[in-house]
């Protein structure tokens, strides 16, 4: 019983108006680009989007904003996402910004069957307002609750027909936790190998957490900030960051 779907439309079966959808990727890197575009074509309305950045530079998930598919967003960083800034300023979208570690741990908790956890992150800040806090060994922690989602769209380097996934470099990011948290996790795979094509120790996410796989060899993987060093210079420079 393969989890492979013949095309993107089949992979998105049952994704309807009002769904809560988590989408993997950090900025525009490692996005499930084909699935994002296929959802846009399908055009469900009133979505709740769970994504670190919700797109950038008018691309990726920003196209969902453009088409007014999204009613609510849970994200950690708006940054240079001008589409989102504009909608926030206009008050046409409900945006909740949370700390990135809490964001991903809440999905991990949902996927792991835990109802919530006590984290030190956000204590004494607006993030903890209205939430339960508790002292453990003299330090205060805030209770954060699990964040289950209806669908997760993730991009991976390799998948097999059972849905075992392997990721590449920093494109792993939120994808495993999002898949775990989802009723239906859909993996867009650059390469699909037969069962046994991945060594058991090389699997990054077990197929138990993945419901559908669709093979999409092509991907664009937009570089948001192309930073390079001069061949001659010996200097190190990791450059500025901000998400």
């Amino acid at each position: 019983m393969s989890k492979l779907r013949p095309d993107l439309e089949a992979a998105l079966e049952g994704l309807e108006d009002g769904a809560t959808i988590a989408v993997g990727g950090f900025g525009l890197s490692g996005n499930p680009e084909a699935l994002i575009e296929a959802v846009r074509r399908k055009g469900p309305k009133n979505l709740t989007l769970v994504s670190n950045n919700a797109g950038a530079l008018g691309r990726g998930l920003a196209t969902w904003l453009e088409d007014d598919l999204v009613a609510k967003i849970l994200c950690t960083y708006v940054g240079t996402n001008q589409d989102l800034h504009a909608r926030m300023a206009a008050g046409t979208i409900d945006v909740t910004i949370v700390p990135q570690g809490t964001f991903v741990e809440r999905m991990r908790a949902a996927g792991a069957g835990l109802a919530g956890f006590y984290t030190p992150t956000g204590v004494g800040t607006v993030v903890a307002e209205g939430k339960d806090t508790r002292e453990f060994d003299g330090r205060t922690y805030v209770l954060e609750e699990a964040l289950p989602v209806d669908f997760a769209l993730v991009r991976c380097r390799v998948a097999d027909p059972f849905g075992n996934l392997r990721f590449y470099r920093t494109s792993r990011n939120f994808q495993p936790a999002m898949a775990m948290a989802a009723k239906v996790a859909i993996a867009e795979a650059e390469t699909v190998v037969p069962l046994g094509g991945l060594d058991p120790d090389d699997v990054h996410l077990s197929g138990a957490f993945v419901q559908r796989v669709v093979h999409v060899p092509e991907h664009e993987d937009v570089i948001e900030f192309r930073t390079v060093r001069e061949p001659a210079a010996g200097e190190r420079g990791e450059g500025k960051r901000g998400a």
Partner: protein, 208 residues
């Protein structure tokens, strides 16, 4: 004469112990990497899931799926590892990052840090800032001593929304190196030609 941005970064590089796991924040902290002595083993962590971050790639060798938390193309050093965000923040919150060097909008004398939001300003977001501030074993802040409008950034109490409470150990500004000492800032070192009085006048909290 006040320290330049690069001199601040060089000062901060001295704060980094051999073998440390370090996360560098946006702005001046970024420059610290360039001031680490060659041969000093330092493991740079990027919260999007990379430990052992190397320099920018050579032109033509950029990998769109190997980026830092600023979405810039980077490289990975031998001994580096990639992991998911769950693991990355477990590392950060769990005290496995020895040092975070961060920027700030305000730092209070009790160690409160405000570096993510200005009331009335455009909200950029939180990203990994709150987890880093709450989780790293030691927090060093690099910042100009005052804002562009001349207002003190080292204060008795933060008026901006906090990133985390009582977390900053040390502040390195263009005027001085100072430790958060509870009832005030303790001056550790003055920039050459800068007097204690000048630092005191630029600081909205007692010096101790």
């Amino acid at each position: 004469m006040p320290w330049t941005r690069d001199e601040i970064a060089a000062k901060a590089a001295c704060e980094v112990p051999e073998g440390a796991v370090v996360n560098l924040g946006i702005g001046v902290p970024t420059l610290v990497a360039g001031h680490l002595p060659p041969g000093k083993a330092v493991w740079l962590q990027s919260e999007n899931g990379l430990l052992g971050m190397g320099p920018f790639p050579y032109a033509g060798e950029e990998d769109p799926q190997l980026i830092n938390a600023g979405k810039q193309t980077v490289t990975v050093l031998p001994g580096g590892a990639t992991f998911d965000s769950v693991t990355s923040f477990a590392m950060i919150r769990g005290g496995h990052v020895d040092l975070a060097i961060l920027g700030a909008m305000q730092v209070a004398m009790n160690g409160d840090l405000a570096n993510w939001s200005i009331p009335g300003g455009k909200t950029m977001g939180i990203g990994g800032a709150m987890d880093l501030a709450a989780g790293a074993r030691r927090i060093v802040v690099l910042t100009d001593h005052v804002t562009k409008k001349g207002k003190p950034k080292l204060v008795a109490e933060c008026s901006f929304p906090l990133t985390a409470a009582r977390v900053v150990d040390r502040v390195i500004t263009d005027l001085a190196v100072l430790d958060c000492a509870g009832e005030g800032f303790r001056v550790v070192e003055l920039a050459p030609g800068v007097s204690l009085e000048e630092v005191g006048a630029a600081t909205a909290a007692p010096l101790t």
